[in-house]
């Protein structure tokens, strides 16, 4: 056992490379080496193997000696490019350092845009009564004098119930629009800019002239089309927008076409948004409402004024209600509107004219609706209606109806008693 352990220890020492008698004896064995001939053969083989490589290396070294010639040029060009880049970056950095002042002014303006939006939440809307039928002549007679020259609108009188229902939701939309205004400072949202600062095509006057008139014609054409009437002639006429006679470049806010467009709901608002499209898209409708609210806030109109106007409009509508009830064929159209049937522009108007009416102003929406309804009548019926207006001493409305009749039916022969009416 001891002998075995001794051998085991010797073996472990052998594995560990420790000095031992066996290792010493092994080193004393003949230290054979290859002879010189063998060494020379191996070394000659090694040199011969690398000789082509060495020659190539020498050639490569010669090429390297020439390299600095073009390397200097390349490094010079790289240096120029680098310096140019640094200069460019520094210039951009300088421009950016000048930018904070502009950003501060922009942010301040954005805040100014936001504050009125948060204050616009109209307290008067929930108290509005249900929407009556379109107002008749008294409202029309009262509004032209009070109508402001701009399209910035007070709250509408007609769609109050809908607004009352959606008031909380619209408040959220307004707040969201305020948040958007903070982020986005595009000219579309920058409504506080003066009119002369805006591009010409974005001014209110141009918008009213270029968009309201053709769309009003389109609305009339749709009305004719839906009634199965003589569409072709009128549609061809409406397809070509014509300049409004005697009002080139100047917006006529009391024009017949504009009133008809407002009533039909097919006009564009002050911001170029198609009201029909906005009414079709709920999100667009909300956005449009928010815009209208902001516009009203920027005009800084007190809510009391809006309420007063709404009250006057409601009273006018109440007065005109019996007349509408007396005409069975005309009362059918608001009934259709109540059922949300969009067959005629007049029927669409009550359901969709909340935002456009607010944007359009207070110039007799009810009277305009009546005008629109009359425009859907056959010419003979329309003439009768004009005579009724004259009998009711509503000469202005009669003249508007007559002017629209002439435009809509240019081939129609106006009776003699009305031909000279001025």
């Amino acid at each position: 056992m001891t002998q075995r352990n001794h051998h085991e220890r010797e073996f472990e020492a052998f594995l560990a490379g420790e000095e031992s008698e066996l290792a010493r004896l092994y080193r004393r064995l003949p230290q054979s080496e290859p002879d010189a001939k063998l060494d020379a053969a191996v070394l000659a083989l090694a040199r011969a193997a690398v000789e082509p490589q060495r020659v190539n290396a020498l050639r490569h070294a010669n090429v390297r000696h020439r390299r600095p010639v073009w390397l200097v040029a390349l490094s010079s060009a790289a240096g120029v490019v680098l310096a140019t880049g640094i200069a460019w970056q520094m210039r951009n950095g300088f421009n950016e350092s000048a930018a904070p002042a502009l950003r501060e002014s922009a942010s301040a303006r954005t805040e100014l845009d936001v504050i009125p939006i948060s204050a616009i939440v109209p307290p008067a809307e929930p108290a509005a009564p249900p929407a009556p039928p379109p107002a008749e002549a008294p409202a029309v007679a009262a509004t032209p004098a009070a109508a402001p020259p701009t399209m910035a609108a007070p709250p509408p009188a007609k769609p109050m119930p809908m607004q009352a229902k959606t008031a909380p939701h619209r408040r959220e939309v307004e707040l969201a629009a305020g948040a958007d205004a903070k982020k986005d400072s595009s000219p579309r949202m920058d409504e506080a800019a003066p009119a002369d600062a805006l591009p010409p095509e974005r001014t209110v006057a141009t918008t009213a002239q270029t968009s309201a008139e053709p769309l009003a014609r389109e609305g009339l054409a749709d009305a004719e089309r839906s009634r199965g009437g003589t569409v072709d002639k009128f549609a061809a006429e409406a397809a070509q927008p014509r300049p409004f006679p005697g009002a080139a470049g100047v917006p006529d806010y009391n024009s017949v076409e504009r009133k008809a467009a407002i009533a039909s709901g097919s006009r564009r608002d002050d911001y170029g948004v198609d009201v029909d499209a906005a009414s079709a898209d709920p999100l667009a409708k909300q956005e449009q409402r928010a815009r209208v609210a902001r516009s009203a806030a920027k005009e800084k109109r007190p809510a009391e004024e809006a309420m007063a106007r709404a009250q006057s409009a409601r009273e006018a509508e109440r007065q005109s209600a019996p007349q509408i009830a007396a005409a069975p064929d005309r009362s059918a159209i608001p009934a259709a509107a109540a059922t949300a049937n969009a067959a005629t522009p007049a029927a669409v108007a009550p359901a969709t004219s909340a935002a456009p009416a607010a944007a359009a102003g207070t110039i007799g929406n009810a009277a305009s609706a009546e005008l629109q309804r009359n425009a859907t009548l056959p010419p003979d019926e329309w003439i009768k209606r004009i005579r009724e207006l004259l009998r009711e001493e509503r000469r202005a409305d009669a003249l508007e109806n007559l002017a629209l009749l002439r435009r809509k039916h240019p081939a129609y022969v106006i009776p003699g008693d009305l031909r000279e009416l001025r």
């Binding site: 052998f14 594995l15 003949p30 054979s32 080496e33 060494d39 191996v42 070394l43 090694a46 193997a49």
Partner: protein, 191 residues
């Protein structure tokens, strides 16, 4: 005896650096490398083949393989291990071709050809000579695997893992071979 005049910097370079330098075309690096390993490689092959002619042939072939493979060499492998692996494989191939193995006469001839160092005292000359003769005989009598492992350990100073890598065997197998070789040599000295 061949003498190489190596630059001082060559003496500080590792085997792997020299081999990489030779792979790039530096013939002097190969000279330095050859100087370091020519003796150990030759003895390893001589112990393996037991005849000088075969050892010379394998020696030259081993270095030829190194020269051919100079550009493929990667320093991940230790140069000594790689060199001995080449030599071992060539020796195995040669042994397979030359079986049956050489007899005791050829072994004695090889032993006589080996250079015998001079001893200091005459009485020890015989004793030393006898001891070296016994060791030489014991190595000759070992199986090839055991002898290779023993020579790689004693001559080249390789560890178990390196021997395993050179011979292609597991470490435990190498250890077992070394244990048997060690025991047989000790037994021969105990006679």
């Amino acid at each position: 005896m061949y003498r190489l005049t190596c630059r001082p910097m060559r003496a500080e370079s590792t085997d792997e650096e020299l081999m990489l330098a030779y792979g790039r075309g530096d013939a002097h690096a190969f000279e330095a490398l050859y100087t370091r390993h020519r003796g150990t490689l030759y003895r390893f092959l001589l112990r393996h083949c037991r005849e000088r002619a075969s050892a010379d042939e394998l020696f030259q072939e081993t270095w030829s393989r190194v020269i051919v493979a100079r550009e493929r060499y990667r320093p991940e492998a230790k140069f000594t291990t790689w060199l001995l692996q080449i030599a071992h494989n060539l020796a195995i191939d040669l042994m397979r071709r030359n079986r049956p193995q050489a007899g005791p006469e050829e072994t004695e001839l090889v032993f006589r050809q080996l250079d015998a160092p001079e001893a200091e005292r005459p009485e020890r000359v015989l004793s030393e000579f006898e001891q070296r003769r016994r060791l030489q005989r014991a190595l000759e009598d070992l199986p090839d695997e055991q002898r290779n492992a023993f020579v790689l350990r004693m001559e080249n100073g390789l560890g178990l893992d390196e021997i395993a890598e050179v011979t292609g065997a597991g470490q435990e197998t190498v250890k077992s071979r070394l244990r048997y070789a060690f025991a047989k040599i000790r037994a021969r000295f105990a006679e």
